[in-house]
């Protein structure tokens, strides 16, 4: 009974924490321009993140190491610096985009420009990190994030052609805007397979003191939680296709266009639900990414760390999330367009995945860490294939998008 409760809570928090500004913006743009055609990219990303989250939890439960900790120990500090710096940079951009997402929600709710919201949002997130516990952040914010299920409800109410939805789960070539199509596919992969998702999960497993008895729970949470999370992203794509695309809005370049997705279904409550979904989902991601930056640096340098410790007991850890969160708010406070930053940082995430995921796969295949719980051929092959695909697509699509392909 206790295990069932833990699984349910884990699944619920994974679902609530899945959607953030990256998955929302990329799915909305993809749905508006390419109808259901890019559903396959969300499915591929979801499969990859299921494997990675399961591996992250298994690694923590079996080896009692976090990913950063394991990488530094296994490869040495110099080799560890590459994935560390890459992940810190990508996470920083994504964190800035998430603060932008909450700030947009603030603007939509009050009419006060998003720039004015960036620093207050950073301050509230910092206060939560300073005063709160890991349980409060992990479960509290993620439970509130269940409001994002409104996109799935809206998708069902809009009654899409489910046969076409099913057909779109297989990759197909675009009929127009070729470069944009691949760029969107890359951005979707980057949004789904954000390294902070599985790294945060691994640190959380250590914070919650998981051992081998949690392997079954871990598998259930990774499989069910991420699948339901991916369903929300597909819900956003379907709603964008049936509302924005169907009304001739194929280019979603302006964040003011986004709240229009839910109003035809729920009326004024659609506007409220959109603002709540964006605000809560991005705030949850803001707190998690800031915490993840602190985990990475503290674990990488071997400092004291733990969200449940008092800041005076882990000053380096507290300093990292303090500096990161305030620095990430600055580009948004200066007026950088959060939507453009989001799409760009998601594509960069996909391009950087080999550097963060491949060393992790080495750890998962290392008998000295994993014993009999090493990776199987299927999980190794699936993750490598998807990461390689994301990387190649990113290398091709990002320059084309920047230099004016379509």
């Amino acid at each position: 009974m206790k295990k069932l409760l833990e699984i349910s809570l884990g699944v619920v928090t994974s679902v609530g924490g899945f959607l953030e500004v990256g998955s929302l913006a990329t799915a909305a743009q993809a749905g508006a321009l390419f109808d259901f055609q890019l559903i396959w990219a969300i499915l591929l990303g979801t499969i990859c993140i299921i494997f990675l989250v399961e591996m992250a939890g298994r690694f923590a439960a079996v080896s009692k190491h976090t990913i950063a900790d394991g990488l530094r120990e296994r490869f040495g500090f110099n080799a560890f610096l590459w994935p560390l710096v890459t992940t810190l940079l990508v996470n920083f951009l994504v964190l800035s985009a998430e603060i932008g997402g909450v700030s947009i929600a603030g603007e939509l709710a009050t009419g006060i420009g998003f720039q004015w919201w960036a620093l207050p949002v950073a301050l509230v997130a910092w206060l939560l990190l300073w005063k709160g516990t890991f349980g409060l952040i992990e479960k509290g914010v993620s439970l509130l994030g269940l409001v994002t299920l409104c996109f799935v409800v809206a998708a069902v109410i809009l009654r899409p052609d489910w046969t076409r939805v099913a057909v779109s789960s297989m990759p197909s070539l675009p009929h127009h805007d070729t470069a944009t199509y691949w760029f969107m596919a890359v951005s979707i992969l980057g949004a789904s397979v954000s390294p902070y998702l599985f790294m945060f999960y691994s640190a959380g497993a250590i914070e919650d003191k998981w051992d081998k008895s949690y392997l079954g729970i871990n598998r259930a949470i990774a499989g069910l939680g991420m699948s339901f999370g991916g369903t929300i992203s597909i819900g956003v794509l379907i709603v964008a296709a049936l509302v924005l695309g169907a009304n001739g809005i194929t280019q979603v370049d302006d964040y003011h266009q986004l709240p229009l997705m839910l109003t035809p279904v729920f009326g004024f409550w659609g506007f409220v639900l959109f603002v709540a979904s964006l605000g809560i989902a991005c705030f949850g991601a803001t707190v998690e990414i800031a915490l993840q930056q602190a985990y990475l640096v503290a674990q990488g340098f071997g400092w004291n760390w733990g969200e449940d410790l008092k800041p005076r007991d882990d000053p380096g850890f507290a300093m990292v999330y303090t500096v990161t969160i305030l620095a990430a708010a600055i580009p948004i406070a200066l007026g950088l367009d959060p939507l453009k930053l989001t799409i760009f940082s998601m594509a960069l995430t996909a391009a950087s995945l080999p550097l963060t995921v491949v060393p992790f796969l080495f750890l998962l295949n290392d008998e000295s860490y994993m014993g009999q719980n090493r990776n199987g051929v299927i999980s190794n092959a699936a993750v490598l294939l998807i990461i390689a695909l994301g990387f190649v697509l990113a290398v091709v699509a990002i320059p084309l998008q920047i230099f004016g392909g379509s």
Binding site: G111, A179, N247, G248, D254, G267, F268, V396, L400, S406
Partner: protein
């Protein structure tokens, strides 16, 4: 031995990337900046219609509708400015002017709470978008 494997892997990866880049470049068509801007302008105009519709029935608050219409008007004004400086016929230039004027009218309507003016702006948008479609088709058949 291991160095040879690394060197081979490096060569294979480089060739794969080069092939992917070439295939990508070959597969992608590059439409004119004008086509791309027209698509953006049409999307902005259709978004403005949706904002007006939603505001009229009370599905979005006035502060949002005003901000959204201002932002969309800026996009349409950019498009208008772009067309005025390029070598295109007068018809698209006039349509761009109509769209910009409709967006400004819609923003005024929301600011003053004038639903009749908002309805007029919506009609202006629809007319201009319909003409855009005709211009686009004419261009496609007679490039």
């Amino acid at each position: 031995m291991s160095r040879r494997v690394v060197a081979l892997a490096h060569t294979v990866m480089c060739r794969l990337l080069a092939a992917a880049l070439l295939a990508g470049l070959a597969a992608c068509s590059f439409p004119s900046a004008e086509d791309e801007q027209t698509q953006t302008a049409t999307s902005a105009a259709n978004s403005a219609i949706m904002v007006i519709d939603n505001w009229t029935v009370g599905a979005v608050p006035s502060h949002y509708a005003k901000a959204a219409l201002r932002s969309l008007a800026e996009t349409l004004a950019d498009y208008d400015r772009h067309l005025q400086t390029t070598d295109v016929s007068d018809s698209p230039k006039q349509l761009a002017r109509q769209l910009t004027a409709a967006a400004e009218g819609a923003e005024d309507a929301v600011t003053t709470g004038n639903r009749a003016q908002a309805e007029q702006a919506r009609q202006d948008f629809r007319t201009a978008i319909a003409k855009f479609g005709v211009t686009g088709r004419a261009k496609a058949t007679n490039p």
